[in-house]
Symmetry: C2
Subunit: 577 residues, 2 copies
């Protein structure tokens, strides 16, 4: 037994107790006859006192220590003369009577503090030291708790955790599959799963009824700052359910997680269709912590000889509440922002609804006060509000306006980090139509079922077919999505054909699943949440990286490990490569 | 909402309720005017009644169904005239008023019954149908529960679940690593982890204090019937602990699992040293459900001109209680058994301690009754017992006797499947000495710490050094093992040198870990349990395969998926292979 307590535990009630503590030296202060040491572990920090008068030998040993030394001390809990109210153990300190240095430490390459002086690369190289920082530890602990709450909730709901294989079949369409050469079956390869999709559907065919798994998935694609080649999903599937059953079950899960991690009660999660989401928010993952819905001004704005409007397919506006006083400089900065190639607008029109009806717009040349008043009325704007307008081709303008809405909210401080506003977006289109190649792609994946009432459109008008597919967005980030699956082989074949699969290709890729559907597949559906993403959104940060103990960088490299790396020729030879 | 209840739920108290059920057709019996259907899901079976007189249309539809059809029925719960006491729903049946066939099924290639007519290969090919069989479902459900109990226990004990990476660095010694070519870093490879060993040690360096993970591990080796290329470990590590802390923590985990799954209370788990285990049981994973400890007869048996004994290094015996009456045929069958090449004994001597002192041995020519009486006394045998003796070279004889002990217990029915007797085996040798190449190998792994009192032997007599290493065996199967690790870099270097690593090799393989040890590594240790194995031992079966939803066969192939398989040339080209 190395210790009797951890460093976050001791309080006034322990005064006079003899204790043994272990931990890392966080900080040392030498005040002549006394040496104070902050001893740290993941539970907290305890102040140690070494007194030259009481025990000079121990005190001298203590003075030889440096930051990050690992020590064991014995001593008595005493009341601090100057309490520190910022930490839970701040009322007490430990008068050390015995000290054992368990391990020394070189001077760390950056300071192990919440605010560190280490750059990104250095911290990644010494990730094991970066992970000592309390800000990072808290994120890993949060993740651990979210995983546990998820499992507890799903267990209570009757879900079984079933592990699906990691070494699976590589498929011709799997251009983003990682593949794994087999030593025992030379010339043949496994693949790592991009998701356990087919396995969870097979488990439904097998009658497992409710399945979940918190599972690593793999995608070998060009990395963006917020993608990792391996990522973790909360993967779920249920039988004999419709969309409503799934939404109800999993909104309780998210409510449970938010309550347990943040003490937030979210109530019923609103549901809107994909079409409504695009119309009102310009995106399928709306941030509804603030209103500022998009207004379609196409009809009301056209016909005043203003070429930008008259030539536009679509004219959209958002009303920024109380922002009529925004400076010219700030508005110009927004105009520059919308012109960035990622946003792609050619410009932005604004209109200030000042008090006392002194309206002012950037298109006063074309529109008089009455026009502006009609806009104001149409948009349900109030005095003091600012109207921002984008015009252009439909798709691009919707997209740009969706992004502008978020950017403006960011700049106006409307995205309250203490608010949690999940929303379900349902009824996605079944297909994405590739204008260029005139081909259909599955918007979710090829197993997604069309809405019953749209099935006849599959032949006549596939673009219009809506799917039993749903996403959950939280504060403007998609955290999960799923669908009711097709359980009928004939319908599945029809979809495969529309997606341009030959029967042969479909069989090569999904033969076992299609065969399984011949033996009594139940109606089923499911959902997958991104665990890394949920953690990041709950903590209100953009990057998932700090919620992963040993993440990879943007090139898919683990700098600490130096992976991927070369392997020996004889190893390659043994694999037949 | 497809159903109001599952098929295992309804009882007498639900009589007269209108219910909706879904499930698979397990069985149909047509009794003229009435058709009875057993409707199955993972929760149970409910009997449905279709009555020609009451609803002929529905009844006729029902008669068109076949096995494994998926249906939804509405109806009224009624009391059965002939209750079935073998199933929980046997008191009631449901009088069907509405029937919907949700999906048809082809005739399955084997019967979906506990006792099926399907062979191994067929069942593997249609694993999704095999998984419908209740005997298999129960095993997968058991696994899910053991995982959950494990997580709950470890959470309560303050362990954090931390995910470690799956795409890691391949090492030159990793001849059994699966490797993964990187598309974005051509010519370079990741490897899949054989265990998260180095990561959990890094997490201790990072101060996470208590870590666990239920994690997939990978080993690309020739498969034995009971090995899988991917397998699951309950992987744990703790800081500031000695061996006793770990054994205490994890015997509580195993006790918790055995109590929750089997209702068994095991009490304190006995601990014996490796040397003692080999001496008493001829193995480091003893089955202690029965006694029958090995007796060393070397001194007592030599010197009577019996060449087999006089030329042997070691003479060992076991006393089989009450087996003196064993027939000549049964003894001969045991003799044949020990002569099998896997056991490798040249023969077996027996001695029957019949009642009334009429002892009888297979070596009466060399040993008289007094000799046999002295054996009996030495072995503490009783009248009616049978003594079995093997003699030969030390190591081989110990090993053969360990196996004979188990075989005899099996044949005598001494291995009670309802008993659960875990045991800790501690103080393993630190090194395995390879006589042929005169080299040392790490018995557990190179991070295992030597016993403090043996450190000086590292120079003079490495073979004699014992390790702070421990295994847990349950009913004769190793289910887990671990060690207290080295946290001192100098000692770690010394061990690497003994293991024949050059500094360069050690750095290439474990550089980041050795560097981490420079920055204040705490004393730490851990353990890993084989989850698949725990499930199998608890269910009293030899094979882990049925506890894995989608297992691979002995050649590492997934027959259902047809994996591993060939991949397209352009995919290979893109990977630079």
């Amino acid at each position: 037994m190395y210790r009797t307590f951890n460093n976050g535990f001791l309080r006034l009630e322990h005064i006079n107790q003899e204790v043994t503590l272990c931990g890392w030296v966080q900080k040392m202060r030498d005040l002549g006859g006394m040496t104070f040491v902050d001893l740290r572990d993941r539970y907290g920090t305890t102040q140690l006192v070494f007194n030259m008068e009481i025990n000079s030998k121990i005190c001298e040993l203590a003075r030889q220590m440096g930051r990050e030394y690992v020590v064991q001390v014995k001593g008595k809990v005493v009341k601090r003369s100057a309490p520190n109210k910022n930490i839970p153990t701040g009322q007490i300190e430990v008068e050390v009577s015995d000290l054992k240095i368990l391990n020394k430490s070189k001077n760390p390459p950056f300071t192990i503090e919440d605010e560190t002086d280490g750059g990104d690369d250095l911290r990644m190289q010494y990730r094991y030291l970066d992970l000592r920082r309390s800000v990072i530890q808290k994120k890993i602990i949060l993740r651990s708790e979210i995983s546990f709450y998820t499992r507890s909730f799903l267990k209570k709901e009757g879900f079984l955790e079933v592990e699906t294989p990691v070494l699976i079949k590589s498929t011709p369409e799997g251009a983003r599959d990682f593949i794994v050469p087999s030593r025992l079956n030379q010339g043949k390869f496994y693949a790592l799963p991009q998701s356990p999709q087919t396995f969870k559907q097979l488990l439904m065919v097998s009658g497992f009824d409710k399945y979940y798994q918190i599972v690593k998935c793999f995608r070998d694609e060009d990395f963006r700052s917020d993608r990792q080649p391996e990522f973790t999903q909360i993967d779920c599937e249920m039988s004999f359910v419709d969309m409503n059953d799934i939404l109800t079950t999993f909104e309780s899960l998210i409510a449970d997680i938010l309550f347990k991690t943040k003490g937030v009660r979210i109530g019923t999660i609103p549901r809107i269709t994909y079409d409504q989401s695009i119309r009102d928010y310009g995106t399928d993952k709306p941030d509804i912590r603030f209103e500022m819905k998009i207004k379609n001004l196409t009809n009301i704005c056209k016909g005043n000889q203003f070429p930008l409007f008259d030539q536009a397919d679509t004219i959209l506006g958002i009303v920024v509440p109380g922002a009529a006083g925004l400076s010219r400089k700030k508005i110009d900065s927004l105009i520059d922002w919308v012109k960035r190639p990622q946003i792609g607008a050619t410009g932005m029109i604004y209109c200030k609804f000042n008090h006392l009806d002194t309206y002012k717009s950037s298109v006063d040349k074309y529109f008089n006060t009455d026009d502006l008043a009609s806009w104001k009325e149409f948009c349900e704007a109030n005095d003091g509000d600012l109207l921002l307008i984008l015009a252009g081709k439909e798709k691009q303008t919707i997209n740009a306006m969706g992004q502008l809405r978020i950017e403006v909210a960011d700049r106006m401080g409307l995205r309250d980090p203490n608010l949690y506003k999940p929303i379900w977006v349902t009824d996605f289109p079944l297909f994405d139509f590739d204008e260029e190649n005139k081909t259909f792609h599955a918007m979710h994946h090829p197993f997604t079922s069309p809405k019953e009432e749209d099935i006849e459109l599959l032949v006549s008008h596939p673009q219009a077919v809506k799917a039993n597919a749903y996403d959950m967005a939280l504060n403007g980030t998609e955290i999960g999505g799923g669908s009711i699956r097709i359980h009928d082989r004939k319908l599945q074949n029809q979809i495969f054909n529309l997606l341009g699969f030959t029967n042969e290709q479909a069989y090569e890729q999904f033969g076992f699943l299609m065969e399984a559907f011949e033996y009594g597949a139940p109606p089923h559906g499911g959902i997958a949440f991104g665990l890394d993403r949920i953690c990041a959104v709950i903590e209100g940060v953009d990057s998932i990286r700090d919620f992963i103990a040993f993440p990879k960088n943007n090139s898919g490299r683990d700098i600490m490990l130096d992976a991927p790396s070369k392997i020996h020729d004889d190893q390659l030879k043994e694999l037949g490569l």
